[in-house]
Assembly symmetry: C2
Homo-oligomer: 632 residues x 2
Amino acid sequence: MTTIPRTVTLTFEPTGTTVPAVPGTTFLKAAHAGGVDITATCGGRGRCTSCRIKVLKGTVPPPTIMDKVQLGDDQVREGFRLACQTQVLEAATVQPAPPISEGTFQILSCAHDMRKDSRLRLDSGVQKVFVKAKCPTEEHHQTSDAEEILRQVPGVSHDLELDLLRRIPALLREANGELTVTTFYSKVLDIEAGDATAHKYGMAFDIGTTSIVGSLLDLDTGAQLAAVSGLNPQAVYGGDLMSRIAFAQFNPAALKKLQTRVLAAVNGHIKEATEQAGVDPRQIYKLVFVGNTCMHHIFLGIDPTHVGLAPYAPSVRAPLEFSARELLLRTNPSARVFFLPIVAGFVGADTMGVVLATRVYEGPVIRVAVDIGTNGEVVMGSRRGLMACSAPAGPALEGAQIKHGMRGAAGAIDRVTITEDVRYHTIGDLPSLGICGSGLIDALAQMLEAGVLDRSGLIRLEERDHLPPALRDRIVERNGERQFILVRAEESGSGEEIVITQQDIRQVQLAKGAIYSGLLMLQKVMGVPDDRIGELMLAGGFGNYLNIESAKRIGLLPDLPTERITYAGNAAALGAQMAVLSETERHRATALARKIEHVSLAARPDFQEVFVEAICFPGFAPEVTTAEVLGG
Amino acid sequence: MTTIPRTVTLTFEPTGTTVPAVPGTTFLKAAHAGGVDITATCGGRGRCTSCRIKVLKGTVPPPTIMDKVQLGDDQVREGFRLACQTQVLEAATVQPAPPISEGTFQILSCAHDMRKDSRLRLDSGVQKVFVKAKCPTEEHHQTSDAEEILRQVPGVSHDLELDLLRRIPALLREANGELTVTTFYSKVLDIEAGDATAHKYGMAFDIGTTSIVGSLLDLDTGAQLAAVSGLNPQAVYGGDLMSRIAFAQFNPAALKKLQTRVLAAVNGHIKEATEQAGVDPRQIYKLVFVGNTCMHHIFLGIDPTHVGLAPYAPSVRAPLEFSARELLLRTNPSARVFFLPIVAGFVGADTMGVVLATRVYEGPVIRVAVDIGTNGEVVMGSRRGLMACSAPAGPALEGAQIKHGMRGAAGAIDRVTITEDVRYHTIGDLPSLGICGSGLIDALAQMLEAGVLDRSGLIRLEERDHLPPALRDRIVERNGERQFILVRAEESGSGEEIVITQQDIRQVQLAKGAIYSGLLMLQKVMGVPDDRIGELMLAGGFGNYLNIESAKRIGLLPDLPTERITYAGNAAALGAQMAVLSETERHRATALARKIEHVSLAARPDFQEVFVEAICFPGFAPEVTTAEVLGG
């Protein structure tokens, strides 16, 4: 039973067009519904700046992580927002603004950083120098084409790559000596005719098990010129990590298939991003990749078999550097391609991205970054040191292995409120088709709160008579399994009931228990009680949609004051972007990876105990406290 | 009219077999003619040690350069010789000895060096370490396959190449952790199963316009395991350098043809050498190439057009490093491939090989290395500095563009004596087919001496009556051209006369004049009169066959005391071999190339004057002396 919303009026300047809007919808949707044309290049996903608006009158919610990432602190302070990310609260007047152009300065950073208004050091390592070279002459005979060109680029190595050596004689003469030399440290990456110093690009990629996210960056300004993403096309060979490892296991041909698919996807993203931004792919000189260990290995064609077997050891943890040529990436063939280092088996290069983006290594206060996914990674510490662990949560929080579970797509229930009866919200305000991870967490929290579940997670079938009548009727037992009817058949988009089964609840408990036990274990090993955690940063796509109160309620997150829990956005991808723009950050990742201590949950004899505690729901009967779990 | 030789008796121990031999023939030929089986793996070219003999009784000539190169000073002192290189002087007793095996220590060096009995520092830079690695375990979980393997190879980079990364998981497990890691400085080149530390090879190549010479070396012992050579198969597209440049000029497809041919030849030589020595090509980890600038550029696929046009500038002079993979060389794909630096247009990487091998940069005394070929390169100096120049001699000294000229092959006249009449010697003691470069130089020297030529090089047709009757009859004029009949039709192998025409004499004069003027120019620029030249070292294949007295007689070489003129062997190839075995030498080449001063003959206004003097024959009427040419 969705609530019937009242409407408010939005005014779009400079035309003064007014449109009605239901509070809770976004300015973008309201504009489109009312016939106001606002471009949304990325499809309203907060991945570009094309729907930028300036709020002239009225209150809007605080900026989202995407507002901050795309627009930067200064713009946000000036009242700019992304129309696609900003919910309508009340009547307001806004003015659509042109997207931030290439030329505009825009720093990519992370939530934590931007709050402190610090700036990323723009030192990509890629340099372009315009030179005016002369052809060798008889008077000055002891020279070469290469020397004449590189004379004005001091400190650069003349040991050029083969294809450059081959192009040099014609380049020098055809361009009349007017050339642009691109270097990365002392290495010459390319020589182009004419003055091409204005075009210096890089790309960051986060290769996830589920999706691939790419970002095209201007190395001079730090501006994001295009954001691209898509599902990881390896999925046809296995939806999750372990099934993909199983597919490739001891089977070079299968591994090659996985590798080819992800490579093609990445090359597709490079093409898409460069076309979107009107950039020549040959002017992409630096790329940084992050991804979990398995994705990292598969991308490079390394057999991931042993990553999937205890003790889950990677084949290599060191930061790696390649040329785009050897990886068959369709950028400048000499572009430097970096993979951030791996900490340990399931604490991969993506976690290093999270570490960079959250700057969890900074400051005296203990902070925690939690990346919630099929594998939950937790990094905890301060400038005095970091520890990390990985918890195998499984796909329940992504809606998989849940009876009516689905991904966070249109029609998915993503918010649930239970008082006298059930109310819910679906993505896109469409008829409900299933429930996604954030909806599940909300539902369980609300079921606990309403007394539908007991503290152990059992649906209170026998005690249902104590519940309000509407709720009581939703508790049923079918084929010996207890179920809670979330959406009745007549209300749902599919015409069928949407239920949460006892089994679903157990799955969510296992998943949240895994992640929380990772956090608890680090707290235990480092001797950090809840009150010493200065900030808990939620990373990863899922983290952004999570209702923090519900997450605390079901014990996915510890019961910290809500202001100490923050969203860090897609921190893995942000970290990769930072390493593209800044050699300081890339080198920092190398240095940090050596120092992060990995806590192997499986190897800890006390893990079982912590895990059992973590899968229970907190707060009802505090017979076991976190303090007890922490060993006092 | 060849002399009728007497025969002497050779005794071969331990069997005591006796065979007759004509003095002047080699021990190898005498043995084979007499049924004594001595292996000559390289075909009797002094390129291996398979025909090694020990002289037990009797006198043999001083060791040749090949004896010294192949056997080393110690062996030569002990009486060992190469049967293929050692001429029979008188009756002697010898004992065939087994070839020097891989295990034996053998230093490759050059004539100059070995005379001083100095030793090459064996520091190839390639290291092999046998490790016993454990698979990662749960107890020690923060590690990777790569780290477990490389733990015992300190200081090595873990940023491994792609194909190595891909092989690591299986390698570690299949070999039970027993692995051999090959490194070049901090770079890992390969990881092999088991203990393969004994197998560490390198190859040196001299890519000449005419021929390609390769040498397979044991990097541990310095031993040459195989020597291979063949004609440069680019010859079908042009016999000399300029015609090959013309073929490739502004024509990428033609360039590709030239490149493909030389690459195939080199890969063929790698195959041949490794098969000969029973070596796995994947265990070749370092290669050094030398060659003139044009061959260098073509091998790398760099358009040589501008090398053939004034000011003859190379596209790159710097020392270059590649992987065998990118050059498509069939060795270990990660093998490091080096090209020695180029000094200037026609003073190429081959000259750097000559510089290394002759150590012309050493000591306080001025020394000169002269590489006689189609282009003659001259390097002069001492530890105080070096100057170099290149002189375009043309192919006359190789028998080309000479009426009855031919290469130094079987049947070629290679020695000529003229007193009352003409006597000559042919290669292989076969009926004469033509005359090769060394024969031409001998012939001209003897014709001068006998008064057949005047000092200007003119055949004395009018004055022939002053000559002995046999000589007088050999001077004829046909179709307006003066000729000297060297071999009468009835004596020659082809049944036709072999003559030296006035035009031939002019060609030789131009060729020898070019080379000598290069030397004279360096003497002039450096202010070095003849008596300050401490040593003149003849490099290159041709230099080894040259009769020094005749070369001085015709003014190809200055009139130095004969003991100051030495043979340096194929110094370019030797230098490449030194750089394979010794990083000290390779780095020395880099440092020296920066310091050698190139004297461009074409750019010197005084060159014409020097050249005109140099093409004349010295000694008859000393109206112009070297001192005068040197400007006093």
